[in-house]
Point group: C2
Chain length 337, copies 2
């Protein structure tokens, strides 16, 4: 038997929708979550594809996440759009706030979208790509759980704290990046621990704060940020902007709230949108051309733009569908029972 099965993107979407609604999620939420799960699978970000359904359903069944929460929009200041997710997943809250964010960015030049009280499990690139699709520049960040030590420390304070950015291009895919400010995903360390394999230096410190190649010692210690003191500074900035500034939980607060349940982190998210048309006025076309010159200077020397691999996968998946591990497919089928 072939260990993988082929699904069209419509089938991926339908499968995700069925699994979520069968587990009591409201139609609006299920549509929003199935959308990003399909995007993740399509771009071959496997950990953010159908695999995530297992975690979503676990979170729903635990009763922590409200699958029917109705997001509430407010506007505490002209350039701040705030959406209270009311303990639902972040994605419907994002969809609810996005049109007003874009409208305010077009009106004011820059605007912020604050999502509060949300459970967050998804990558940020679909969110900044959605902003770029509107011809705007997007920036997004969020804390997670406090697994990552500050530089020079030994105890987790920061989350894996992703930062994502998208720049709209007149033709083709936007310029997009989305990276964790931790050196590596926690799952990679867990995988090495299970396989009794050493981890590279730079991923983690042990409980005494000493750099370690022992995956078990790493899990008992703390992860490191990427890029030394610079990555550590960025991780702190994300705690401040997407935690303290928006009145939501930092990664340490969120981990304390979870109290070992292992649910998706409850916290907030900050997105910014900039309108190039307002910044550049009559110089919009030459400004966008300047960006194209930058991209050409990168690709012209054989270097790659971020997200290129993802965009290539997207093209393949739209043409040929995606291949799913049969065991995963069966696990998802079991969620429908």
């Amino acid at each position: 038997m072939n260990p993988s099965i082929n699904l069209s993107l419509d089938q991926v979407h339908g499968l995700a929708l069925d699994a979520l609604t069968a587990n009591g999620m409201g139609a609006d939420h299920a549509e929003a979550v199935a959308g990003v799960i399909t995007q993740g699978q399509r771009d071959e970000c496997h950990s953010h594809g159908l695999y995530r359904l297992l975690g979503c359903v676990r979170s729903l069944r635990s009763g922590k996440v409200d699958g029917h929460a109705v997001p509430v929009v407010s506007q505490p200041a002209p350039s701040i759009v705030k959406v209270d997710a009311r303990h639902g997943f972040s994605l419907l809250a994002l969809q609810t706030g996005l049109p007003l964010l874009c409208e305010q960015a077009r009106h004011l030049g820059v605007a912020a979208l604050v999502i509060r009280n949300c459970y967050h499990f998804s990558a940020l690139w679909p969110e900044v790509e959605a902003i770029a699709e509107q011809g705007l520049v997007g920036l997004a960040m969020t804390p997670s759980h406090a697994w990552v030590a500050p530089v020079g420390g030994s105890k987790g304070v920061f989350g894996t704290n992703p930062l994502a950015f998208a720049w709209p291009r007149p033709a083709g895919q936007p310029f997009v990046f989305d990276f964790a400010t931790s050196a590596i995903a926690r799952g990679d360390i867990e995988l090495h621990a299970r396989q009794n394999k050493p981890i590279p230096l730079g991923w983690a410190v042990d409980a005494q704060g000493a750099p370690t190649t022992d995956a078990q010692a790493a899990l008992a210690g703390a992860m490191q940020t990427f890029g030394g003191h610079k990555g550590s500074a960025l991780a702190a900035m994300i705690e401040l902007l997407a935690g303290a500034l928006i009145g939501d939980l930092t990664s340490a607060d969120s981990m304390a709230f979870d109290d070992g349940a292992g649910a998706a982190p409850l916290h907030g998210e900050l997105l910014l949108a900039f309108d190039p048309a307002r910044f550049l006025g009559d110089d919009l076309a030459p400004g966008l051309q300047r960006a194209e010159n930058l991209f050409a200077a990168i690709t012209g020397q054989g270097a790659r733009l971020p997200s290129q691999r993802r965009f290539e996968a997207r093209q393949r998946s739209e043409r040929d569908g995606v291949w799913i591990d049969r065991a995963l497919y069966q696990d998802i089928q079991a969620l429908l029972a």
Copy 2:
């Protein structure tokens, strides 16, 4: 003879002011530049202290920088404050735009300050600290000259592209960082080349794009960003936000414009200000307290906050004055003749 001489901060400021005005700089510009040079010397950022006077005067004498340019403020959209520096140094333009930036941030929640057509030589931390002094959160970035290769490349595309951030604290100094997205300053590689010393791996690639420890080969090749593909992505973001978005030169454009003259880079700068009072409303105090908890979790485990060394130097300098190399002092005296 003691190789160093002691100066009070007032004396540093007066010396800088005299050197600049003696070389034809207008009083407003000289005051703004002398201010940040004094701050740099005070905080023992020696390359941004009195030493910078030599470069400033060289730029003035070359005729490239207009020492009398009157910055012009406009507001193309409610949340965008734009200052055209008209080929003067950036600092008077910044001072001119800062009050309106803060006013708009307080009014709207978030606002942007765009500085265009400026010559830039100063660190960004005094700028974001000035925003934090107003109780606002500041973020600043600027391109420079295209010395830094994208990850996987061999040719300079990015500048050293600093990113600076400041968070206001109810008591004491703000939380501040200011780092280059290059792995190291270009001057450090030049220094190693002069001393025929090898450089660490990770600083630079040779002309073929291979990692090198040979400082000469590095200068013929290109510098690297910090943090691999993540640092490279950040450097690109800064070119886009503080170059293309604001209708000003990228690092490659700026280097082409300089055409080997070695003046300070001509380009633009983007600053953002966020008002915690507008984001947090009635929850301002608990939001700021959440940030304090974060800082306590960092320092409580023996790790340091960024800029701590600078703040310690500041305290020393305000008490004891600063020590200046006698040769530098004489070089500056020579500028007064």
